[in-house]
């Protein structure tokens, strides 16, 4: 139900009427059925793939925007902890690098 991972489209072709493509997942490639996203994707786009099918196109702009917000929030928190620990020891949660 849930195991869908993001991959980048490398190539698109027509397989007797079915849109298929090669999708790259961090260095691993597999054939994926692109029929459900055929109208909106091109080579280089990211899709979410579940059991060999692209179920949606990944919105990279949204992803970047929302992640930036999270990242800033976490950096703000870092600053807060640094300010606090200037006064008090042991407040800051442990970080591993």
């Amino acid at each position: 139900m849930c195991l869908g991972i993001p991959g980048k489209i490398q190539s698109i072709r027509d397989d007797t009427g079915l849109a298929m493509g090669v999708v790259d997942f961090g260095g691993v490639r597999r054939d994926v059925c692109l029929q459900y996203v055929a109208g909106e994707v091109s080579v280089g786009d990211y899709v979410i793939v579940h059991v060999g099918f692209a179920i949606t196109k990944l919105d990279e702009a949204e992803a970047q925007r929302t992640f930036e917000i999270l990242r800033e929030m976490s950096q703000l928190d870092e600053l807060e902890w640094m300010k606090d620990s200037a006064g008090q020891e042991g407040q800051r949660p442990e970080t591993t690098t």
Binding site: M1, C2, L3, I5, D24, F25, G26, G27, V28, R29, R30, D31, H50, V51, P93, E94, T96
Partner: protein, 352 residues
């Protein structure tokens, strides 16, 4: 206080235990395998050497202690990036002997061939076996061949038996882990199992995931030469690092804690695991060892391993503890904890 969760491998779900037939899970290196050995084989083949359940058994012959190990190889596909069933058969048994700290002396090889197997394939298997044996300096001194009808042997099966001489001053054993020991892994994990799985699943790669199949004897020699008191050595084959650590935790009656952030997993192996929903900790390795050494010797052990190309990426992944005996726990990057249990059987690709 919430206790750490045990995903019990988050496999869906546990097998029916009361079965009157052999299942594939019995060969997986997980709980079913352990039960098959404990309930069917051990009680009948009773002897002290076998009961140790080490990678190899130790017998006394005329005053010398000899390590003996046997292993059968049924891998499909027969040929894969990084080797074939032949090189795997040589490395696998050499490694079992080496994990006892013994110097391998000789090998035997028994073949079960399927009618119809192309001789060209057989030749390639033999050539790789010969090469692996030659590189290790260990001759194949005895062998046997049988042929069975088409359909009865999946191409070919190989059994190898190895003999080695135990070094009285260097005796790692599964029961010797002690609280405080550092746990070291000699290289990146999950490569062999994913190379096989990827070949089977028809995945292609920018550069293929290659099996790490190799003889670990040079790494063991390096540890021995450094004069270290190695408590345990284990090559985490089927069932992966997780199964090996569980077996050691039980044999030594200790707890184990590993750090997720330290596990060396190559990027393409990780990606392949993600795609299939597999946990790299349970994936087979054929060219990696796990070593338990006293904390004070950990740094020297790493130096010794890294001095050899096979051990260039050796890294410390955890520690032995006195708490939660027989349980392997993992600390995540977030600081949470979970139990890393034995799987009931094979790890299967999942959709959930």
């Amino acid at each position: 206080m919430t206790k750490p969760a045990n995903p019990a491998a988050l496999q869906c779900p546990v097998p029916v235990e009361a079965t009157d037939r052999v299942q594939l899970g019995h060969g997986s290196g997980g709980k079913l395998s352990a039960q098959l050995v404990a309930r069917h084989f051990l009680p009948r083949f009773e002897n002290a050497a076998l009961a140790q359940l080490g990678d190899a058994s130790i017998v006394s012959i005329g005053g010398a202690e000899i390590a003996v190990s046997t292993d059968s190889f049924v891998v499909q596909p027969i040929e894969f990036p990084g080797g074939n069933i032949g090189s795997l058969a040589v490395h696998g048994t050499l490694n079992d002997v080496a994990m006892m700290g013994a110097r391998p002396v000789c090998l035997t090889a028994g073949f079960i061939l399927e009618e119809g197997l192309p001789l060209a394939v057989l030749d390639r298997v033999i050539v790789e076996m010969a090469r692996a044996a030659r590189e290790a300096g260990v001759p194949i001194v005895a062998g046997d061949t049988k042929v069975v009808e088409r359909g009865k042997a999946d191409g070919l099966f190989i059994n190898t038996t190895g003999l080695g001489v135990i070094d009285p001053a260097f005796r790692p054993a599964p029961a010797r882990a002690q609280p405080g020991d550092a746990i070291i892994v000699s290289g990146p994990i999950a490569r062999h199992g994913m190379a096989i799985m990827a070949a089977r699943e028809g995945m292609s790669f920018e550069s293929a995931i290659t099996s790490d199949s190799a003889s670990l004897a040079p790494l063991v020699d390096a540890l021995r030469a450094a004069g270290l008191d190695v408590h345990v050595l284990r090559d985490p084959t089927r069932g992966g690092v997780a199964s090996a650590l569980n077996e050691i935790a039980v044999a030594s009656s200790v707890g184990i804690e590993i750090e997720e952030m330290t596990l060396p997993i190559p990027g393409d192996v990780r990606a392949a695991c993600e795609m299939l929903g597999l946990d790299p900790l349970y994936v087979a390795n054929e060219g990696v060892l796990v070593a338990f050494v006293p904390e004070a010797q950990a740094a020297r052990a790493l130096v010794a391993l890294r001095s050899h190309p096979l051990g260039a990426d050796a890294v410390r992944i955890g520690v032995v503890v006195a708490v939660h005996p027989r349980i392997v726990a993992l600390r995540t990057a977030l600081g949470g904890t979970r139990v890393v249990d034995l799987l009931p059987g094979d790890q299967l690709p999942r959709i959930c």
